[in-house]
């Protein structure tokens, strides 16, 4: 049995999971901070 498909699968799960989590958290932070800044400007 070749081990490489299992290794590739493990790295794919880890990297995709980490990238999605990072991208989602970054987008949420930018969106929330922009909304807060916009509201500050309206004052």
């Amino acid at each position: 049995m070749s081990h490489w498909p299992f290794i590739a699968g493990a790295y794919a799960v880890a990297l995709v999971g980490t990238l999605v989590l990072t991208g989602w958290s970054f987008a949420a932070m930018r969106r929330a901070e922009r909304a807060a800044d916009a509201l500050k400007g309206e004052r």
Binding site: A10, Y11, A14, T18, L21, T22, S25, A32, A35, A36
Partner: protein, 237 residues
């Protein structure tokens, strides 16, 4: 810690730190995984499958560290009522859950060629699965309390009680000797050869820094959201 409990002071530090941790973590992950995949030697028994260690162990460490952080933040919330403690605990929960899931999935992908099975109800695997369920419970409870406008004290108690699972995970390989290997990395010595240990340290350091950046991003998002909600309430009044 008490100094950082002030949101303004915290944000002044968190803004530059987010980028430093994020880019530093990304670079170390690339170096550690490249080293582990292409330069580190295969294991004399497991062959190339051992390369899964460079993603599996950092994920396991962060799954457990995430809950240790939740427990510490929960304690601060209950004892000192720090305004940032509940935000920190909530921001740690999803990243901790994701890394616990990654640990379980990569462990399963390692188990199939190494042990001949995708899953076994062994002490270490079962206690990690319990940790994933604890994270899901914490996320649901904290979100429900936040929506009701509560302080999150119930979630904080849950965070403290759930920490009982951490020593169970750690000592599970000693208490129940089943399929999962015993402890191979200690504070003073390790049974792993340094040619494999160094890329593992680099990878673990990279994932840890990135985890820190992700938590800071989520805390900044939560604080900005709180500010928007408070201002909208004031404008409506």
């Amino acid at each position: 810690m008490h100094i950082l409990a002030n949101p303004t002071r915290f944000l002044r530090l968190a803004r530059p730190l987010t980028a430093w941790l994020g880019w530093g973590g990304g670079l170390l992950i690339a170096a550690g995984l490249g080293w582990g995949l292409f330069a580190a030697p295969p294991d004399y028994l497991q062959g190339d499958t051992v390369r899964i260690i460079y993603v599996h162990v950092p994920a396991a460490w962060l799954g457990m560290a995430g809950w240790a952080g939740i427990a510490a933040a929960s304690l601060m919330q209950i004892v000192w009522r720090h305004p940032l403690a509940a935000v920190a605990a909530r921001s740690l929960a999803l990243p901790g859950a994701v890394f616990t899931f990654i640990c379980l999935a990569t462990g399963s992908l390692w188990g199939r060629p190494a042990w001949g099975t995708w899953w076994e109800w062994d002490g270490r695997m079962t206690s990690m699965l319990v940790l994933l369920f604890l994270y899901i419970g914490f996320i649901a409870l904290a979100e429900a309390e936040r929506e009701r406008g509560g302080e999150g004290r119930l979630a904080a108690i849950f965070g403290l009680v759930g920490a009982i699972n951490l020593p169970v995970i750690h000592y599970s390989v000693l208490w129940w000797r089943t399929l999962h290997q015993g402890q191979s990395i200690g504070l003073t010595r390790s049974s792993i050869d340094s040619s494999m240990l160094w890329p593992l340290f680099v990878s673990a350091a990279g994932f840890t820094l990135l985890f820190g950046a992700i938590v800071l991003m989520r805390m900044r998002a939560a604080l900005a959201q709180q500010k928007v909600e408070a201002r909208l309430r004031r404008m409506a009044a």
